[in-house]
Symmetry: C2
Subunit: 385 residues, 2 copies
């Protein structure tokens, strides 16, 4: 799978860029050709599904423009992301307002811009949608398990199945199009089997609503398809196969249309972060490990290292020389700004202040997470090539 | 203690401001008079200590200017914070570069600006300081326990005692002024007794160095003095008393000069955040709790709710009416953006979309933590009055 190979071996284009001249660090570089390659892998791996790129993974304008050119649709988390998509050339009818939590004014604005597809998971949100986006297509997000996900999504989104049935009936009664069901098995989901439970639950909602004469038309399979960081993950085709098997099992007679919302799987492997070693130190005279401090950390774009959840792959300019165990931390005065202390990482013993370190597969959920000015440091800079 | 009373009862000035006109939410308002009152409480509570305000807690220009006018000194986490302090009117000789992890170029720049007081905890950093800030005063940060802290600082900063002794001797040999020892007992430290262990450890380093004919002149007692959030905390005078008792015990004959670095205790209670309810929902038909979604969350300035560490106090415009258990979450599509799910919070049963909610004591570690644009949302706005 393209997205995986590029992770372990950054593209020639990115290598050339970093080699071409001095760059201030930290700097995130995005190779738009990898964005395109990942899009094609997923699109061709699941041709029956409408691909809605999860904008929050990486909303950089050139990324959105490239995806518009490829025919992508877009899953937006806020009205601001909707505006970004439109400015990048997307048709409003190709945008889903996928956040189940929306301010009334933002729903109104999205509807006026031409968006007519909205997520919800509660009676309160349905009331807003009926009033401010009348006649729109709505899909209800259901709760599901997040087992196997490196970045679980907790109980924040979704509702129980019997409630989903009630709400969809209510949506219909309110003049909205009771369009479909969505779920999310958790981000960086390493187990393709997790869609089976969710689809079995979805099928129950479909059949209950059919009994009430409401025919749903769509299943939103969500995101969760993983990127290749330090550890191996299944190829996208394994997810496609597992999902297809579950669809055959639960929807054999009447296949609904499908939406998928990959974000990480499209953007992560397209990005490489160049950072610099600020300090290598030890905590005691007979220390068994060194601490390596980089000029980027948890508040500079690597928020997903929280609880050491996402395990990035690092490269240094001295790779190949003898190495030893390290803890890796960021440059701020905050004790939480430690990337890895429990996970055993190794780096060259001759790593020194000023050496460059590259962090692969940092194209997703990095730049926009970075703090606006914590400890006085600027947010992460991004450059698309 | 002033800082505590204002937390539970926002100042008339803040109330007037919010009542005066419509404001977009979320918005953080800082009452500079509370900054000043908190400064005076701490200054008069420990008159022997030099007060270095921890800029990272809240680096807003008007906050820094007010503190300059009051005669505060400053603890800076980066060269950018040093520049901010100077632009706010601080003398470079009143600024401590308190981060033990500094880029060589940043040390050079700070030294050129006139800063001559630096923290370190490793041989690598000492080399940089000797070369780029020759003759400066340096203090070595030692490891200490963080028991009792709501926001512990882990093992990221500091070194073991025997190493501190070696490093200070080395500092002296390198032509630096071996000035003192620092430690940090953990942020939002609720146990005044925690300074005792740290001071006993500090005394050991002092005496070992004395044997090697190096007389240290200063103890940096760090920060950690708590703010009053939802739960009661000891008054500052209890910290001052406990520290004084430990100083008498360990440094009776030859009292060194003292530095303290309060940040949270000065800035937190000065801030009130005005936010808006985006949605109130339930997850099941027979739910025992509601979910309240605000337009600010973990990525919009409330990062310290991570693991529900800091427990903020909330007020709503309907307080007093019957209330029930709620989970509280932010507006983004990220499942991690949940403020409180385990901690039992209650809010009025008639709380509705669009209602205003105020979060007290949000003046510290909020605005600068906020993400630059996660999910397309703008960073938190701040207004000082």
């Amino acid at each position: 799978m393209t997205s995986q190979k590029t992770t372990q071996d950054p593209t020639a284009k990115i290598k050339r860029f970093f080699a071409s001249s001095q760059h201030s660090t930290p700097l995130l570089v995005i190779d738009l050709d990898v964005i395109a390659a990942n899009f094609e892998v997923i699109k061709s791996g699941m041709p029956a599904a409408d691909l809605f790129y999860a904008v929050k993974a990486n909303p950089a304008r050139p990324v959105l423009e490239r995806l518009v050119a490829l025919g992508s649709k877009f899953d937006a988390a806020s009205v601001f992301e909707i505006e970004d998509c439109i400015l990048a050339g997307a048709k409003p009818s190709d945008i889903s307002f996928g956040n189940t939590i929306k301010k009334p004014a933002d729903i109104e604005r999205a509807f006026k811009l031409g968006v007519d597809l909205f997520a919800f998971d509660s009676a309160g949100e349905l009331e807003k949608l009926a009033k401010l986006a009348p006649g729109s297509k709505v899909f209800c997000r259901i709760l599901t398990e997040n087992a196997g996900a490196d970045w679980p999504l907790s109980r924040k989104f979704g509702c129980e199945l019997d409630m989903a049935v009630e709400l969809m009936e209510q949506a219909h009664a309110l003049g909205l199009v009771a369009y479909g069901i969505s779920f999310h098995v958790g981000s960086q989901q390493t187990d393709p089997g997790q869609w089976e439970t969710a689809l079995s639950r979805t099928a129950w909602v479909f059949s209950e609503l059919k009994k009430r004469s409401i025919e749903l038309a769509m299943i939103n399979l969500g995101g969760g398809y993983p990127a290749h960081y330090r550890d191996d993950v299944p190829d996208f085709e394994e997810y496609a196969k597992a999902i297809e098997a579950s669809l055959c099992k639960h929807f054999s007679d009447n296949r609904p249309s499908l939406m998928i919302e990959p974000g990480r799987a499209i953007a992560a492997s397209a990005g490489v972060m160049q950072t610099e070693v600020v300090l290598v130190s030890e905590k005691r005279l007979d220390a068994d490990r060194r601490w390596v401090f980089l000029d980027v950390g948890m508040f500079g774009g690597l928020a997903e290292t929280m609880d050491e959840a996402i395990k990035y792959a690092f490269r240094t300019e001295k790779d190949g020389s003898p190495s030893g165990i390290v803890a890796i931390a960021g440059p701020t005065c905050d004790g939480m700004d430690v990337l890895y202390e429990q996970t055993a990482y190794k780096m060259p013993l001759d790593l020194a202040v000023g050496d460059l370190v590259w962090i692969d597969a940092t194209g997703a959920y990095t730049a926009t997470y970075s703090a606006v000015g914590f400890n006085g440091f600027d947010p992460l800079k991004v450059h698309c090539i």
